[in-house]
């Protein structure tokens, strides 16, 4: 379908598609098998000027909006959502600064991310704080001109690979949700370290590690926004980033369909291509319907977000839930269409199905998304 992209947006799609076709797809099986971080691909993305798509021009970025970012992510995801996650998680690590950071902080960190010299990560989750982010135990205390961080984070995408970390810590436990604050931690800061790489079901090209802060001292001005605004920044960040996770579901679903249809055309059983059986045709039709519907919802939402409306949490959560549930179903059905062959590692759909699962979990589980949507509905309908 034609979404009437501008010439510039079409160029972004073309460049990202070429990266997916020439660099990501040929390498994805090996990156998955070896659980290898895609250093070369991240360099290629930088060289193609796509690292700073979502970063304002004054900080060396392209100055694109949510929509431009999504167009690139969709293509990367068509290649491999492990690789796309590396890119998306770096953006997630930078959004807090774009949203709430001081001008000095932005000047210091954004240009290197825009040029692809550095990558970022977002550190919220802890062993006892998953869906319930208010359970975080990491603390930050001001000592003379420095913040001193203590505690740990877990399952941090790009952990150990990134140079810049957006970290949330409690600065005043008594104040509850208003007692949390965000900071920028650099990989070279004293007292900062990370643990071993997790072994995962899918997105194995992305690295996930725990982070440790042991009397980690950082300058006072590394604070993002004001003291006590940490959770507000986290919520704003996730509202903006969720359509980016949603679109990974669309790119992934599309790539599964792109394998399933040609396969169904050439696989002969009972003397006919299996696509001639209505049961298979309907499976493929449902896949195509779901993918296009998700794409349309996310494109529309991204454009809406770029118009800077007041509240985006409901639509943003809708994108994430719909598209990622879709990706799980579509990739599972793609394996069904290829059946035994689909189950084998020789074909790409088993990886797609393994990869899809994470989309329903990270950046807030789909149960939590539904909570958000439900709460927003409740609010909306009590207004008059």
């Amino acid at each position: 379908m034609d979404y009437f992209l501008t010439e510039e947006q079409q160029m972004i799609v073309d460049v990202a598609r070429q990266i997916a076709n020439e660099k990501i797809i040929p390498q994805r099986a090996e990156l998955d098998e070896k659980e290898e971080y895609p250093t070369d691909i991240i360099k290629t993305i930088a060289q193609a000027d796509l690292s700073g798509l979502y970063i304002p021009e004054e900080y060396g970025g392209f100055g694109g909006g949510s929509f431009e970012n999504i167009l690139a992510l969709e293509q990367f995801a068509r290649g491999c959502i492990g690789v796309a996650t590396v890119f998306a998680a770096s953006a997630l690590g930078i959004y807090p600064m774009i949203i709430s950071g001081s001008s000095e902080l932005k000047h210091k960190y954004l240009p290197d991310v825009a040029s692809g010299k550095k990558t970022a990560a977002f550190a919220l989750t802890e062993p006892d704080a998953g869906s319930d982010a208010s359970g975080i135990q990491t603390t930050a205390v001001l000592d003379n001109d420095e913040w001193v961080l203590n505690g740990s984070k877990q399952w941090i995408t790009n952990g150990g690979e990134a140079n810049i970390y957006s970290v949330i810590a409690m600065t005043d436990r008594k104040k509850g949700a208003r007692g949390a604050t965000m900071f920028v931690v650099e990989d070279t800061d004293p007292g900062f370290s990370y643990g071993p790489k997790e072994k995962k079901l899918g997105i194995r090209a992305s690295a996930t590690r725990p982070l440790y802060f042991k009397d980690c001292r950082i300058p006072e001005d590394r604070i993002i926004g004001r003291v006590g605004t940490g959770f507000i920044t986290v919520m704003k960040t996730l509202n903006i980033s969720r359509p980016g996770i949603a679109i990974l579901g669309v790119g992934l679903g599309q790539s599964a369909l792109d394998v399933a249809v040609p396969y169904a055309k050439q696989r002969i059983q009972f003397g006919k291509p299996v696509i001639s059986f209505q049961a298979v045709q309907h499976l493929l039709a449902d896949m195509a319907i779901q993918i296009e519907a998700a794409r349309a919802l996310i494109y529309a939402t991204a454009k809406y977000i770029d118009s800077k409306p007041k509240s985006i949490s409901k639509v943003s959560a809708m994108c994430k839930t719909f598209a990622t549930d879709m990706a799980m179903k579509v990739t599972t059905d793609a394996v069904q269409v290829l059946a035994g062959y689909g189950y084998m590692r020789e074909y790409p759909v088993e990886k797609m199905m393994r990869d899809a699962k994470i989309l329903q979990i990270y950046e807030g589980t789909n149960q939590i998304q539904r909570n958000v949507i439900g709460q927003e509905l409740n609010k909306e309908y009590s207004r008059n």
Partner: protein, 259 residues
């Protein structure tokens, strides 16, 4: 450092077939691409520019639609585009082509380095690069697989050989043809694509380059293609029998019969 890269638009060989009736290349529905070896020449030029500064000019002799490959080259890092195009160039062989390119290069200034792919995948002659250097009276190195270093106007290079490589030193200006082992061409960048969209192309005609009309196109070509055909595959096979001496005698006889 001023670098010229010669690029050619060629049919994508993945799709090319020979029309069995006319014995000509059937180009219908075949996509045009930048000659793959030229992509490596361009990449090397852009890397040299990034390392030593300067400009990269891409030049192509061809029909007006060859502008597409020039724009693609700009999206991958070239700075200027020159399209050498005129009806008079039609039917040129490597002799006439190298003449035309030499006149165009003189017109825009030959600069420090001219880079070409080792050959074009349609004609496969590998003659235009060396021919161009000869006509410009500059040294050339073919099959370059690595640029080792550069200082004081001298470049050290590796030339690929069947059994290894030669290390060659050459004074600039010079022409190099490159093999695909030299680098991995980059993907077009977003800024490059935006620039390529807007950049005007410098178009040069036969008159602009001050060419002698007798040396151009079909008229200026020393070779003429009489017939293009796909050799028939006969696939005959026979086994020699007897003692070793007998087999050798039979083999010699057969080989003599082939000459």
């Amino acid at each position: 450092m001023k670098i010229i890269v010669c690029v050619k638009q060629v049919p994508d060989t993945k799709d090319v077939r020979l029309d069995p009736k006319t014995n000509t290349l059937s180009r219908e529905g075949v996509e045009s691409i930048m000659n793959p070896f030229d992509r490596h020449a361009l990449e090397e030029a852009v890397r040299l520019k990034e390392q030593y500064g300067g400009t990269v000019t891409v030049m192509s002799m061809g029909p007006p639609q060859a502008e597409e490959v020039l724009r693609e080259a700009v999206s991958c890092g070239a700075d200027e585009m020159v399209l050498v195009s005129d009806r008079a160039f039609a039917g040129a062989d490597t002799w006439a082509t190298s003449y035309t390119l030499a006149m165009a290069a003189k017109k825009i200034g030959i600069g420090d380095i001219i880079l070409c792919g080792k050959q074009a995948i349609d004609g496969d002659t590998a003659q235009v690069g060396p021919g161009l250097a000869q006509r410009l009276d500059i040294p050339y190195v073919t099959y370059v697989k690595k640029i080792v270093d550069y200082s004081d106007g001298t470049m050290r290079l590796q030339r690929m050989m069947d059994d290894g490589h030669d290390e060659v030193e050459v004074t600039l200006p010079a022409l190099f043809t490159v093999v695909k082992e030299i680098n991995e061409p980059r993907i077009p960048s977003l800024k490059g694509k935006m620039k390529a969209k807007k950049l005007p192309v410098t178009a040069l005609t036969a008159e602009d380059i001050g060419a002698d009309p007798d040396c151009l196109g079909l008229k200026g070509s020393n070779t003429q293609v009489v017939r293009v055909f796909a050799p028939e595959f006969k696939g005959e096979r026979s086994m020699l029998t007897g003692t070793v001496e007998e087999q050798v005698d039979q083999l010699v006889e057969k080989l003599n019969g082939l000459i």
